[in-house]
């Protein structure tokens, strides 16, 4: 039986970032994921912000890794051809007391090395952010804040990791881990894996995984965040990400720009018990709307076209990233609350370092494919270019999702790159995420999925077993 050098549990942004980083080296790496699709844990339901590093305590690990991650993601997103946009952020103050707080934040952030910070006055705000509440007196401007599509980032990392030899096993739930001599045996819902080093990047379930090796000194508490998406027509609602001053447990309700163009408002921050409770609520909706209007008064509830909830995997105030000497070779990467997405490239480097310090030889491969070809999205390119594409491949002209202009070719490509479910297609291509929410294109996407994956139509699911779209053929 094959013994892997490294096995990683969890294909969220953290697990895939680590996998891609390790794929530079001559190692056998396996990434194990319980869901049918990658990124379907915390990593698909977040704000998609690449934070500059302005709201973290100066002594924290997350503070340091956030600033590094913000820097590193620029190179990675170029290599992977994933859209990262530096849009800048504004943290705003409503009165004199808040200005003091803003200046304190600035100092802390500068200590952590956040570049380019400056305070901006009312006149600047009026000119650069005309829809902002006019009672705002001052802002802290952080130019390095950016946005990215959090799930497409994971898919692109994974695609590149696979190209460089990483094995990804989906629908593979880790059930137990046994330490035998110099390696670990991982019992999963599919097969048994053996590995010398084991990385726990299981998000909300990292405590359960750690417990399997009797390391039981932290608990993951889910902190729910509900977010509300606005119509693309409101794309230019703001020019920057807009933040209020942070509270004790969160960055507050923000005005978010997203990689897809739709603005978003949220998230709430509510500590809950159930790790699978992704429900949204009327109270969350009113809370977010009220807080968002305090920043941008013109936001209307009629502009909201969709909503979701995400759960932050919280284990105390900071990230937990450490080698466990009680189980040599086992590394916990847990408590990945915000800014986990931003920090992910820095976390990957740190984990590689920890592996090395604990005896794993990191020898560079002769050939590492750093670059990935850009995924084509018709919605993102001008019509003359679309015309050329259609000439090359007729199925670019076969539009399946009319709201978001997604062609049959893009959907086939998404499936070739790993999509297995309706939501997998949606998050990769945007098909079904427009105004009609799939009313027009569901049947055609089901048929393409059925054909490309050789599955009967009744077996096509929304996001994996148990979520079949239809009950039976008539």
């Amino acid at each position: 039986m094959k013994i892997y050098d490294v096995a990683i549990i969890g294909a969220g942004v953290i697990g895939t970032s680590i996998a891609r980083e390790l794929s530079r080296y001559r190692l056998d790496v396996a990434l194990l994921e319980k869901e049918t699709e990658l990124a379907f844990g915390v990593s698909k339901s977040n704000s998609g912000i690449i934070h500059p590093g302005t709201q973290n305590p100066p002594a924290s690990l997350k503070g340091k890794l956030c600033v590094q991650g913000n820097f590193l993601i620029r190179k990675i997103s170029k290599e992977l051809n994933v859209d990262f946009k530096e849009v800048g952020e504004l943290i705003v103050a409503f009165n004199e007391d808040e200005i003091k707080e803003l200046l304190r934040l600035k100092k802390e952030a500068e200590f952590l090395g956040v570049p380019g910070l400056k305070t901006v006055d009312k006149a600047w705000l009026k000119e650069n952010e005309p829809n902002l509440n006019s009672v705002v007196v001052c802002g802290l401007y952080a130019p390095t804040a950016g946005i990215i599509s959090p799930y497409r980032f994971v898919y692109d990392l994974a695609e590149n990791a696979i190209k460089n030899g990483v094995e990804i096993h989906t629908e593979t739930k880790v059930i137990d881990i046994i330490r035998v001599d110099k390696y670990f045996e991982i019992v999963t819902s599919k097969e048994l894996f053996k590995t010398k080093y084991l990385i726990n990047a299981a998000g909300l379930f990292a405590d359960d995984i750690s417990k399997m090796l009797t390391i039981d000194d932290f608990r993951i508490k889910p902190r729910k965040g509900e977010e509300f998406i606005l119509d693309k027509k409101k794309e230019n609602l703001t020019n920057h990400l807009i933040f209020p001053l942070p509270s004790k447990i969160s960055k507050g309700v923000l005005i978010i720009k997203t990689a897809d163009g739709n603005p978003m408002i949220g998230p709430t921050a509510e500590d809950i018990e159930d790790k699978e409770d992704f429900s949204t609520s009327d109270s969350g909706f009113s809370k977010v709307l009220l807080s968002a209007r305090r920043l941008i008064p013109s936001i209307n509830d009629k502009d909201i076209i969709s909503y979701f909830a995400g759960l932050r995997p919280v284990a105390g105030d900071d990230f937990i990233i450490r080698h466990e000497s009680k189980a040599p070779g086992f590394i916990n990467v847990a408590g990945m609350q915000s800014p986990g997405l931003t920090a992910s490239p820095a976390i990957a480097l740190l984990v590689a370092d920890i592996l090395k310090n604990n005896g794993l030889a990191l020898k560079k491969k002769l050939i590492f494919h750093a670059h990935r070809k850009k995924t084509i999205h018709l919605f993102a390119i001008p019509l003359p270019q679309t015309k050329k594409l259609i000439k090359k491949d007729a199925s670019y002209g076969d539009i399946i999702c009319r709201c978001e202009m997604v062609s049959a070719k893009e959907i086939q490509d998404a499936i070739k790159r790993g999509a297995k479910t309706m939501d997998g297609v949606k998050f990769r291509t945007r098909a079904q995420s427009g105004r009609c929410h799939g009313s027009f294109c569901t049947t055609r996407i089901m048929k393409i999925l059925a054909e490309e994956t050789q599955t009967p139509l009744a077996g096509i699911t929304k996001r994996g077993k148990g979520s079949e779209i239809i009950k039976e053929r008539i």
């Binding site: 076209i305 929410h437 009313s439 929304k462």
Partner: protein
């Protein structure tokens, strides 16, 4: 750039009536764009009867009603039909760009009629609390799944809203052996036609809850149940009235919205019988939401004539 006298976008009953009318009124160079693989629009999935009572004084099914116009269009050479052709851009100088498998074309027209129909309001637009599992469908999508694809979306169904499509689908599910557990309507009475209330719901003993609203959707992967509450005339909860219904499927039938994003993107405003740009017209459900297709046909004939007058002047 290719030039055409009249381009019509949308081959549903509105676009077809407008095409026939413009042709009969003298325009002999008409291009009819339809993104689907057949003409007929929504009528293709409406296999129930009840169409044409006013216009043809006959009781027809949707496809039969559409068939009469398809026949007329195929019979003349002045109307070119381009299927699998989706218009993606309109500008106010009357050029239109469309894609179809293998080509992208931009056409300059003397006149344009937009007849792009409507879409349904979705669960997302109605802010229902709870989870987002599989099993929530717009009523029109469920209709398409059953009538066109032969696929049964679910077996225990709750229908939200008592619009005509919802009522018709209540009967359709019942006929396929599924259990329709409830129709939930927030208003005091149905929004649908009386005949649909009688023939689709009462005749099948399907319970209808007026003055009720759905308050939460439950289920992780697939819908498991909904909770429902009674509301007063201001749609506020009547305390203590909440109850649950077990189901695996929810149909949303809460209204239709005109599809006119292309017109909006072009900065064109819709006015009665015309738009802010001379030579660009809108008809059918993309102009306003109609109850019955017969009136769509009558009104679209008029628009076809106006467009013909404009083109020939």
């Amino acid at each position: 750039m290719i030039k055409r006298d009249l381009v019509i976008v949308g081959g549903g009953p509105a676009g077809m009536a407008a095409a026939v009318s413009a042709y009969e009124n003298g325009v002999k160079d008409i291009l009819l764009l339809e993104r689907d693989q057949y003409l007929g629009g929504i009528l293709n999935q409406c296999i129930h009867t009840g169409f044409g009572i006013n216009y043809f004084k006959e009781v027809l099914t949707g496809p039969e009603y559409a068939g009469r116009f398809i026949k007329k269009i195929k019979g003349v050479s002045g109307i070119e039909v381009s299927l699998k052709s989706i218009a993606v851009k309109l500008t106010n100088d009357k050029t239109i760009t469309f894609l179809s498998p293998g080509r992208l074309k931009t056409i300059k027209a003397r006149a344009i009629i937009m007849a792009t129909g409507c879409r349904e309001k979705t669960r997302e637009m109605t802010h229902i609390q709870g989870t987002r599992p599989a099993g929530v469908f717009s009523a029109g999508l469920a209709q398409k799944l059953i009538n066109i694809e032969g696929l049964l979306p679910g077996k225990e169904v709750v229908i939200i809203g008592s619009g005509d499509i919802g009522l018709i689908m209540a009967r359709r599910f019942a006929l396929e052996g599924a259990k329709v557990k409830a129709v939930i309507e927030i208003q005091k009475k149905s929004r649908g036609l009386l005949r649909n209330m009688v023939q689709c719901v009462e005749d099948f003993d399907i319970p209808v809850y007026f003055n009720h609203k759905i308050s939460r959707i439950y289920g992780k992967d697939r819908v498991e149940k909904v909770s429902v509450m009674k509301v007063n005339d201001n749609f506020n909860e009547i305390p203590g009235s909440i109850f649950e219904i077990k189901c695996d499927t929810i149909l949303m039938s809460v209204g239709l919205i005109s599809e006119n994003e292309l017109i909006e993107m072009a900065g064109v405003k819709i006015e009665e019988n015309k738009t802010s740009v001379p030579g660009i017209f809108v008809c059918g459900n993309s102009f306003k939401i109609y109850d019955v297709v017969d009136s769509v046909t009558t009104d679209s004939y008029l628009i076809g004539k106006l467009a013909a007058d404009y083109t020939l002047s």
